[in-house]
């Protein structure tokens, strides 16, 4: 076994019960080639300072809970390796734009509320009995929404979105990608119910087409595509209103 090299990890710490604002603290962490940033933080918590707060669960880029800013970029800390960040120092901060609850833990309440609001589940077009059997989809129908099903709610795209940073009421890339995941599904009939959320000022029209959200997404969801496709949908919905005032589906 090669000797572990030390790497300096700087963490933006914040404990609201005694800190007026966040402040940087530095730690020396022994680092082997197979260590992720998350493992570096676990070393700090286990061996140096047990009061460090951060979220994690799966350690394999699936649960979406370990997002943080690593050297200024939104990253999953379990998927980012310290060997790639040598010689350091590595600067770690809570996900940008989101309110810091404690150390690297951000407030996800607003995100969860938005997620609930878009009805992230299939709303059948018409009631269907078991006897009618399963829905069938062609590969092309599947492709229309499949990439959006890969979202793990990690919120890296929110940390990449300056519009969200400037206005946290913006529904944001990840939730709009999930909204589109259901709208684009041939089994779903809930588009009319979700449309008011997209049409609102905090919906797709808040997007300034920066496009960084798609760049940082660890699951290639391409949320910017979901948002911007729906600008056209929203515009069509607006103009169709004049042609079919009874609210006919687009």
């Amino acid at each position: 076994m090669p000797e572990p090299k030390n790497i300096e990890i700087c963490v933006l710490r914040y404990h609201p019960e005694h800190d007026p604002e966040p402040a940087w603290r530095s730690y020396q962490v022994p680092c082997t080639d197979d260590m992720s940033v998350l493992q570096g933080l676990q070393h700090i918590k286990d061996e140096i300072d047990g009061t460090l707060g951060f979220r994690w669960s799966c350690r394999m880029a699936i649960c979406g809970s370990c997002g943080m800013m690593v050297n200024g970029k939104p990253r999953l800390s379990c998927q980012t390796f310290l060997r790639d960040l040598q010689p350091g120092p590595v600067r770690i901060e809570a996900l940008a734009h989101l309110p810091i609850e404690r150390d690297l833990i951000v407030d996800v309440g607003e995100f969860v509320n938005k997620l609930e609001a878009i009805k992230p589940y299939l709303i059948p077009r018409e009631p269907r009995t078991l006897a009618e059997g399963e829905y069938l989809q062609t590969p092309a129908q599947l492709e229309r929404f499949e990439q959006y099903t890969s979202c793990i709610n990690c919120m890296l795209c929110y940390a990449a979105c300056p519009e969200y940073g400037l206005n946290r009421d913006f529904i944001g890339p990840g939730v709009i990608a999930l909204l589109h995941r259901y709208n684009a599904d041939s089994r779903d009939g809930g588009q009319a119910q979700r449309q008011p959320i997209l049409n609102a000022e905090e919906g797709v029209w808040s997007c300034m087409a920066v496009g960084y959200c798609s760049e940082v997404c660890p699951k290639q969801v391409d949320p910017a595509n979901a948002v911007n496709q729906n600008k056209a949908v929203s515009a069509r919905d607006y103009f169709l209103r004049f042609l079919a005032p009874k609210g006919a589906a687009p």
């Binding site: 609201p16 604002e21 407030d107 920066v210």
Partner: protein
Amino acid sequence: MNLDGGVPRPFVRPMRGWWRRDPFFVRYMLRELTAVAVLAYAVVLAVGVVRLSQGEVAWNGWLAALRAPWSIVLHVLILAAMAVHAWSWFQIMPKTLPMIFVGGRRLAGATITRAGWLATALTSIALFALARWWQS
């Protein structure tokens, strides 16, 4: 201490200078800035239309002004800004379009970007050809 009636208060970091935080944001701001050049050229053309409506002398004056050195410099700058504008827009164009399927396969983003450049090249060549034909 950052408590709100005894309840710990989440800390919201300021957004001041956000566009300098990442090279990606700097490039984005550059794209937005080049829109000013697009506007500037629209103004140049609009002035031309107004001068045309004012008669031959005014029109010839406008043509002469276009040939002045400062005008050539301005046009080179605007052309460069337009090129950056086009490049960055064709880059983001695949994200703004609904999925396009050709023969059952989804069109790749790079293909859409290339199609944008191809259309630019073709219309530019057509425009130059038209101008030459007009002159002869």
